[in-house]
């Protein structure tokens, strides 16, 4: 199965819940509705023709200052999947609104999502529903804000932490 037929397969299975597909620079991508993301990823992992058994990467992008997308959904959570048996890659994306940004967690499908999702929560402030232990991964607990958001200033100072003297 090549990339195009993978996308076709997803579209026939999920119909309107696949919002958009494209293959920019040969990276086959499907944008999925938030409510369907867990199901789509489960099919990607378990379907005999797809078998995307590795969650290579999970990250997010903040589109706040992207030209033409200032008013659309602010975030996108990006899943890069790889199939060991079929040697194929696919990218699944899900748009997330800013207000109380949250996505279903995929920890039940892949344990590695635990750390990846913690990092996304840490950096973008997107919550993952059903995550067993949603703590910050790279920053410390007292850190204020989410540094990879586009409205987080690069030179922002954080309050000092430590024992009070």
């Amino acid at each position: 199965m090549d990339g195009q037929s993978i996308l076709l397969r997803l579209m026939t299975t999920f119909g309107g819940r696949i919002v958009e597909t494209h293959a920019h620079r040969g990276d086959h991508t499907a944008v999925v509705e938030r409510s369907a993301i867990l199901e789509v990823l489960r099919v990607c992992r378990d379907d005999a023709d797809l078998r995307f058994d590795v969650l290579m990467d999970l990250t997010a992008v903040d589109y706040l200052k992207y030209p033409g997308r200032e008013f659309g959904p602010r975030f996108e959570v990006v899943y890069h999947l790889y199939s060991l048996p079929h040697n194929q890659r696919v990218r699944i994306k899900v748009s997330v609104e800013e207000d109380g940004a949250h996505v279903p967690s995929v920890v039940p499908l892949w344990p590695i999502a635990n750390w990846f999702e913690r990092e996304v929560w840490d950096m973008f402030g997107i919550r993952f529903d059903g995550h067993p232990d949603l703590r910050r991964l790279l920053m410390y607990e007292e850190f204020q804000g989410h540094p990879l958001r586009k409205d987080y200033p690069v030179n922002k100072r954080q309050p000092l932490i430590g024992p009070k003297i």
């Binding site: 620079r25 590795v54 969650l55 590695i112």
Partner: protein
Amino acid sequence: MGERTTREIYLGEGSGTGSGSQHLYVNMGPSHPAMHGVIHIVAELDGETMVNADVEIGYLHRAFEKECERGPYNNAIPYTDRLNYVSPLINNFGYASCVEKLLGIDATERCNYIRVIMSEISRICDHLTCIGASAMELGAFTVFLYMIKAREYLWELVEDVTGARLTISYARVGGVKADLPEGFALKVRKAFKETRQVLEEVHKLLTGNRIFMDRMIGVGALSREETIAYAITGPLLRAAGVAYDVRRAQPYWAYDRVEFEIPTGRNGDNYDRYLVRMAEMEQSMRIVEQALDAIPGGPINVDSQGRPMDPASYVDLGKQGKTEGLLLIPITLSPNLAGLEKPVHQQVNVADKRVVLPPKEDTYGSIEGLMNHFMLIMEGYGIRPPRGEAYFPVEGANGELGFYIVSDGTDRPYRVRCRPPCLPPMAALHRMIQGEMVADVVPTFGSINMIAGELDR
């Protein structure tokens, strides 16, 4: 009351004995002699057995991804040096290739071969460091010294090509900074001869060593299924018996034109990881040797008038007042220091004026060259890939190293994401050390070869 183990009977522990034994929490790190980077393991111990562990990372976070968004595309190259600082060249090339994919251009053939050669040399450095350090932590200090000696030969090669040992910043979007120096192939052969000798010695010292085997076999093992579920790639996945290597699965640069094998293990324990790394070094040397034979373009031609002279000695002679003879020597800049000779520049860089700075002769010698230079340097111009996104994976020393870049059409990357190859094994570290002894943490941690720079970014 359930069955009590022998240990519980002897020590009066367990349910129903009333001894009230409880688990002990011990902090390993963030600063610990056996930790190669800053990392914090909160270990829950039952005696000396690891019941549970919580791994905390982030002590070396330097906001790599945020910093990349601030400057033009080529500004991120020095930051990528500091991701995996044992094999920085692979990060360099991975990032540059991702931007090239975004732009839709291909590097020149000679550049592809240079990238293969330098990446494989870096991979050997990385494996040498990993095995050397973890052997030292098990008491084999000699091995460490031998390995560092071999790494020194290879780093001298890196220094020859890039001008630096660690923070090399050698790649550019669309090419590399400079061509390989003269006589490089010969130096590589010499260095590899020494390295092979060292590896043979290390094989004799470690591979059949009783102490080493007792400490490594069956320790830190992770099943094949779990390794895949944790998205672990590289030597750790191959040690578990899955022959996945990006270089073979989805060849990039010139990897489809060289022959090499993918060594695999069976048990996924520390010993198999050691064997896989040892075998991979030999394969990397094979790749470099083939690539050096096949590299197109050949060495830099020297004109009949004079050898390429390096500018530093030219200035030195001038300072001493020895100018008479100098005036007669045609100035040829060395390709590796001050400038680039035009033909060499064209060999290793793509002919795309939107991406690559013109050769210095053009910048200083013609108005078109100067304008082209300014168009790439001025703020707001520079390299401007069309809107879109691209993910480019390369085989790093520790596994798949991926860059995911989103472009908004300006001269700055909108978002740069680095998929660090050693984050997944660190996320699975608690599974590897669960139920093992405290002392086993050290070789297991060593076999992961955590590099805090790329883990915390």
